[in-house]
């Protein structure tokens, strides 16, 4: 337990929806609705889920851009939610973020070197600033003469490198990566994934890696969590996750990814989910997945399953009354 660098306990983040003439709060968007997670030092936790399931909200809450509605976030064993402004400022050095969109996450009017150096300046680490920035640029594979270029003079992949250099400038312990490769082309995506893996080894970083693509996660993560409507459906170490996915939603996700292998594609049986993601302002009762679950039973509509160890395996938690076991899997794939 003491190893956990980041721990999240029953985190809720609800946004009020205002409406009507008097701007009264009518409902809440339950973007994050009871999430428990922990990440150990030096490990990568991958988080997947469809658009709108609350991945970015979770990330923004961890880095302190939003105050959660309830729940707790612990960093190195200490709750960070009641930190003073000053303590928060110090904490930020240790938790940094990389954003999805390489086009909007860099100030278009600042030079690459200044963008990377800005966090250093904010913490008055201005000794040898330029040398340090060039060192960082070298580390992420940018050339020294890129220092004075503006963001629009870079390609998407290079911009993402600038964003990564900015995030590691302060030597953080934890990096939250919110879909860092989703906006990149496959060929460039591979460059950035390799870079992130190298940096992790070199700097002993811990990652929370958010993605919507399970094949990217497979490459980079040691532990994988699947989110659906603000909740964690299944979380497990990577091996057990990919070999023995038990939640119906995880299985649907896995089978929905088209493989770059036409023969396998033809043979493949897939679980095609009907319907679409329900609104997080109005999540279904009982198991939140029951409206789309092909295995739903009557009691799924009223009772909410807990995230529990699967077959006594503490490393593999599932939130489902009827998890898919090997026999059931055979049946589906028949």
């Amino acid at each position: 337990m003491s190893e956990a660098l980041l721990e999240i306990r029953d985190l809720h983040m609800h946004f009020p929806i205002k409406g009507g003439v008097f701007q009264k709060t009518k409902k809440h968007v339950k973007a994050v609705n009871g999430v428990d997670l922990s990440v150990n030092k030096g490990e990568t936790l991958g988080i997947v889920g469809e658009s709108g399931c609350g991945k970015s909200t979770l990330a923004r809450t961890i880095v302190g851009l939003q105050k959660p509605t309830s729940g707790d976030i612990l960093f190195e064993g200490k709750s960070i939610l009641h930190y003073s402004h000053k303590e928060m400022h110090q904490l930020r050095r240790n938790i940094q973020m990389v954003y999805q969109d390489p086009y909007t996450s860099l100030n278009p009017r600042m030079k690459a070197g200044d963008i990377i150096g800005a966090p250093l300046k904010a913490y008055r680490m201005t000794n040898d600033l330029e040398r340090r920035v060039k060192e960082l640029m070298d580390l992420v594979g940018l050339k020294a003469d890129d220092y004075h270029k503006l963001p629009h003079q870079f390609s998407g992949g290079q911009r993402q490198r600038i964003g990564i250099a900015r995030a590691i400038a302060l030597n953080p312990k934890l990096l939250i990566l919110d879909e860092p490769v989703s906006a990149l082309d496959v060929s460039v995506q591979a460059q950035v994934i390799n870079l992130l893996e190298d940096l992790q080894k070199e700097l002993n970083l811990t990652y929370v890696f958010i993605a919507h693509d399970l094949s990217v996660i497979k490459h980079i993560a040691d532990k994988v969590g699947v989110m659906y409507l603000g909740k964690v459906m299944e979380i497990s170490d990577s091996e057990s996750f990919y070999n023995d996915a038990s939640h119906p939603y995880t299985n649907a996700l896995l089978s929905a990814i088209p493989l770059p292998d036409p023969e396998k594609e033809k043979m493949r049986k897939r679980i095609v989910l009907s319907g679409e993601l329900p609104s997080p302002a109005n999540p279904p009762t009982g198991c939140v997945f029951h409206t789309r679950c092909p295995f739903a039973q009557e009691n799924c509509k009223t009772n909410t399953p807990l995230l529990e160890a699967k077959d006594g395996n503490d490393g593999h938690l599932v939130s489902c009354f009827y998890p898919i076991n090997t026999e059931k899997k055979q049946l589906i794939l028949e």
Binding site: Q189, P262, L273
Partner: protein
């Protein structure tokens, strides 16, 4: 049914002339699915829009080539004749379901409008046909959803509506430009399933554009691989995925993180970026990034040549040279990992 011959599309920009499509030829037969893959900026959309003549003209020009659709050259037709073909004979689906529907009109009204522009029928019949189309594309409660506005629909449902609109004129050819890129995987699976179903039901030919090799392998029978405005490899899906004969396609496949791959395995990335289309590199366009490149590649600009029956490759390497070099690179990789 569709035959594109040596098509060139140029765009006049402030930086110079962009060779967005550079001498592309291919054919599509009835009932078949042609997949087009390539990186962002490789000219896939410009090519699709050229077929439908949807590129704004100027600044887009077609200095060379022919686009024969059932025998008539689309490049020579008047705007009026083209309008007849668009939607009626050829339907098109765009990538972004959010901005392709008019937000101020009801979904049903837009669909009825689309039907009436293509077919002569009464408004009442058109409405019935619209409901039928919505049912076809899997929208539940089609009757009552006719009166909804686009913002009431989710991304996946809007994409279904766009498919319904594209199908309104019973087209023989459907051009889908990244129809699922903006959608989630589970919704993508639904839409791809739907497109297959429609193809089976109506025998529609489909040109499917995607940057996702997985989608292409699932859907297509024939595949074009594009790089900087050119076709660099074309053949059946199996040719492209199992008998890859072109360094770019090979690199692309190798750079893909795979669900059936090994965790933390080093991906093989293609270094550098796609070339500038205003002044492409001399010799082979791919040479600055090609792990197979030799001295000769700086000089010779390889043409797309047939390798085997139906399998065309644009590379100066012979089959033996390519295989030998591939073997060498792959074993070097394995050692690098170990």
């Amino acid at each position: 049914m569709l035959e594109v011959k040596n098509l060139k599309t140029q765009i006049d920009t402030s930086e110079g002339i962009v060779q967005a499509v550079d001498g592309v030829s291919f054919t599509v037969r009835a009932g078949e699915t042609l997949g087009i893959v390539g990186e962002s900026g490789s000219g896939k959309s410009v090519l699709a829009n050229s077929i439908m003549q949807l590129n704004p003209n100027p600044p887009t020009f077609y200095p060379e080539g022919e686009i024969l659709f059932e025998g008539s050259n689309l490049l020579k037709l008047s705007e009026k004749q083209l309008r007849k073909i668009r939607g009626n004979e050829i339907g098109m689906i765009f990538q972004d379901p959010m901005s392709s529907l008019n937000p101020v009109f009801k979904v049903g009204a837009q669909l009825v409008e689309a039907i009436l522009t293509h077919q002569k029928m009464s408004r009442k019949n058109a409405k019935a046909r619209a409901i039928e189309l919505l049912k076809d594309v899997g929208i539940p409660d089609a009757e009552s959803r006719m009166d909804d506005y686009p913002h009431h629909f989710s991304g996946g449902m809007r994409q279904r509506v766009l498919i319904a609109i594209a199908l309104a004129g019973n087209p023989k050819l459907l051009i889908a430009d990244e129809p699922t890129t903006a959608l989630d995987v589970t919704i993508q699976a639904q839409i791809l399933e739907l497109m297959k179903g429609i193809q089976e039901k109506y025998g529609t030919a489909i040109i499917l554009i995607s940057h996702d090799l997985g989608v292409i392998s699932q859907m297509a029978e024939k595949v074009l691989v594009m790089y900087s405005g050119r076709i660099v490899e074309k053949g059946s899906v199996n040719d492209i995925f199992y008998r890859t004969s072109m360094p770019y396609t090979w690199s692309l496949l190798r750079s893909l993180p795979r669900l059936d791959g090994v965790a933390h395995e080093r991906l093989i990335s293609i270094e550098g970026q796609p070339p500038n289309l205003v002044s492409p590199p001399k010799g082979c366009n791919f040479h600055p990034r090609c792990p197979f490149a030799t001295e000769k590649c700086l000089e010779i600009d390889p043409e797309l040549m047939p390798r085997k029956e139906g399998h065309w490759v644009a590379c100066i390497l012979t089959e033996q040279e390519f295989e030998a070099e591939k073997e060498r690179l792959e074993s070097a990789d394995r050692e690098g990992v170990l």
